[in-house]
Symmetry: C2
């Protein structure tokens, strides 16, 4: 191991296989050089803390600098970069100089070009890291691990609505609160919810949509969630708003939904359902809906079937999965439900996440006091990486509107989805 304190400049071409014997370059510098080459020389340079070496791409000026403080960390990252990079960043063993979102953009673009998912070792590694199963008990544990981090933590950066799903920006200048409210109205308009309707919600978070439907549209709502902390919070909000007679928050699994409704809605739950349960979700929706019933499923998705990023699945969202649109059809097709409308609003999730990250950084001292520095950095990486994932098209966001096969009470055009929002009577 070199102990030369002066940085020695290496470019990836210099340490690529053909020049692997170059005098003075350490093994680890040569491996990083090879990695940069294999990724098409993205504008990233590495600084190795223990040798002082600098590894940069050949033809392009770096915009991000990655400091790796420890040799062992580097080798762990080279073995399984998808999991260990995030862990090393969280632990502070890897530092990024420059904008973190921009860095993650570069990484996602490079990965999309090189498509490492196709290599055999990656497919093997992927098979060994299957998402945790979403049985009734498994779901409860998976959901507890993410959503029961503390309502105070989420309140610090989600904003007033406490909506932890993609917002809808009528214009890019909308505030987070405006965009979350616009999302709820967009969903309600698609579903044509009126005061006479009964609505069932599968996966209601902290209750913002259920309360909005009851408060602004006057419908009756039964809202299901298996996160105990969220349900308790939602019930308090219902009482504070005087909506407890119109909204029932049920601490139970969506699979136990019973009864008949005019509307079935699920915003941001599908990611936790598990592909093997999609047909069952469809059967629950089908049996819940009247002959003229409407349903909507809102979920993170992808262009092609692929597992969630393994670091996200392991550290942030245990058991989660972002389906392709084709995979989502396994909800609707076995139950003979008719898909009326699909809208992909992925760029709205990038905007939402930018607002969350900004508020998160603004609340960073409170977060640090609740958890520790590793958590602070982990959550920052998750938010920044998610922005890049939506902006590079690695992730999509689908809203799927559906109805029963026999329902002909369907407006001819979708113009009804785009009126001026109803005047607010409260909420």
């Amino acid at each position: 191991m070199s102990t030369d304190p002066r940085p020695r400049d290496l470019v990836s071409g210099d340490v690529a296989p053909a020049a692997a014997g170059r005098r003075g370059a350490s093994l680890e510098a040569r491996l990083l050089g090879r990695l940069l080459s294999s990724l098409g020389d993205p504008p990233i340079e590495f600084l190795l803390g223990w040798t002082g070496e600098r590894v940069a791409p050949r033809a392009v000026r770096p915009v991000s600098q990655v400091r790796i403080l420890d040799r062992k960390v580097l080798f762990a990252m080279l073995r399984d970069p998808q999991v260990h990079f995030g862990d090393a960043y969280s632990a502070g063993q890897v530092q990024i100089d420059g904008d973190l979102v921009e860095f993650m953009h570069i990484v996602y673009r490079a990965l999309a070009r090189s498509n490492p998912d196709r290599s055999l070792t990656h497919r093997l590694a992927r098979a060994l890291r299957r998402p945790r199963r979403n049985t009734l008990a498994g779901s409860r544990d998976n959901i507890h691990r993410h959503y029961d981090l503390g309502n105070d933590f989420y309140a610090a950066w989600l904003g007033e609505t406490m909506a932890y799903t993609c917002a809808y920006y009528p214009s890019a200048a909308a505030t987070l609160e405006q965009a979350q409210t616009a999302k709820m109205d967009h969903v309600c308009r698609k579903l044509r919810i009126g005061a006479a309707d009964s609505v069932v919600e599968a996966g209601c978070g902290w209750g913002s949509l259920a309360l909005h439907i009851a408060g602004r549209y006057g419908a009756r709502v039964r809202a299901f969630n298996i996160s105990a902390e969220q349900i308790e919070f939602a019930r308090q909000r219902a009482r504070a708003l005087g909506l407890q007679d119109r909204v029932e928050f049920v601490a139970d699994d969506y699979r136990n939904i019973s009864g008949g409704y005019d509307v079935f809605v699920s915003v941001g739950m599908l990611e936790h359902v598990g592909r093997e349960n999609y047909p069952q979700l469809g059967r629950v929706a089908r049996r819940s809906l009247s002959a003229t019933g409407r349903g909507l499923v809102h979920s993170i998705g992808r262009n092609q079937p692929a597992p969630l990023h393994p670091w996200i699945e392991r550290r942030i969202f245990p058991g989660a999965y972002a389906p392709s649109l084709g995979e989502m059809m396994q909800i609707f097709e076995p139950s003979d439900l008719s898909v009326l409308d699909v809208e992909n609003i992925r760029l709205h999730y990038a905007l939402t996440l930018r607002h969350w990250l900004e508020r998160y950084e603004g609340a960073i001292e409170r977060v640090r006091a609740m958890f520790d520095e590793t958590f602070v950095r982990m959550w920052r990486m998750y938010l920044a990486g998610s922005i890049a994932a939506f902006e590079t098209g690695t992730l999509q966001l689908f809203q799927v509107l559906f109805t029963t096969r026999e329902n002909n009470a369907i407006p001819l055009t979708r113009e009804f989805m785009y009126p001026s929002p109803p005047a607010s009577p409260g909420a």
Copy 2:
């Protein structure tokens, strides 16, 4: 075989298995009674021409009467009703008293309830009737058989636009011509076509959309079609409109599309592509599109994968298939294309077909002079049955808008799809 001239009234309950030994009922009457029972007693009665018997459902007043003139025809229909019913109707061996569309409605609703597709014999029959393959030569033959029936024939009932695909009705009161023009504008707005764009069209029919894009939006268009008669007709129209410099009609298969374009559009061709070729269609779209390119595929579809009605596939559309939305995703997913928007406009196809059927009946003497009575009845059954298929949700109509994964030049909302239509500068 009975020769009793007086109709003997039988209800399906009387001839169901439990009462199969009923004195006086012929074998064929008992079989028809059983068929009615198995379909849940739809409001249809049968009149058997050679026995004078009448077979009616037990509990419901019939609204349609089916006269079967010949015993052999009845047994052929009982063996393979899906193919032989249409053939017998075309040949005049079966006659329907009452509204044909209403009768087809009853049939589709009964079939949806009883789901005969699940029985083993039906699955076997289905396997033996696989659609004709769409190789390059096979497609040419399949398309020739349907679209080269003569431009005069289609002109008799398609209306001025000669658009032979689902129209778009801004209101149910729109005329066929208004709705076909509105469909073209709806497609062009979704694709945000401007005068600077180059457009490639896969499967252009008689050229109406290509000419509309060039004439009203000023874009350059290359339009592909393997129907010789259609291409010749389209070229004449282009010259008559003075658009021959902006629209090139290419007598070739979509698989041979080359070059780069801003827009890829295909309206009503996918039904003839064949599922096995969906990924190839996606590759053609992908390689045709610039980084900010947009594409749209418009196709008949279904809620669930199922073969096209075998009579339609055999007599009307050789090689055709109506995919589920999940199956359609095999166009986009392998090529990493992003689906931006899906709209299901099945009720618009029912309206379109009602207009076509009305005009067809108005032109019936011209059609009879071109073909014969069997053709006249066959085409009537096809149009009436299609209305019922779209109105009962047996068939759907999907417009799928897509773009490249890396394209972030996407409007935040879909309101741009719903402006007032551009002022007409001709066309």
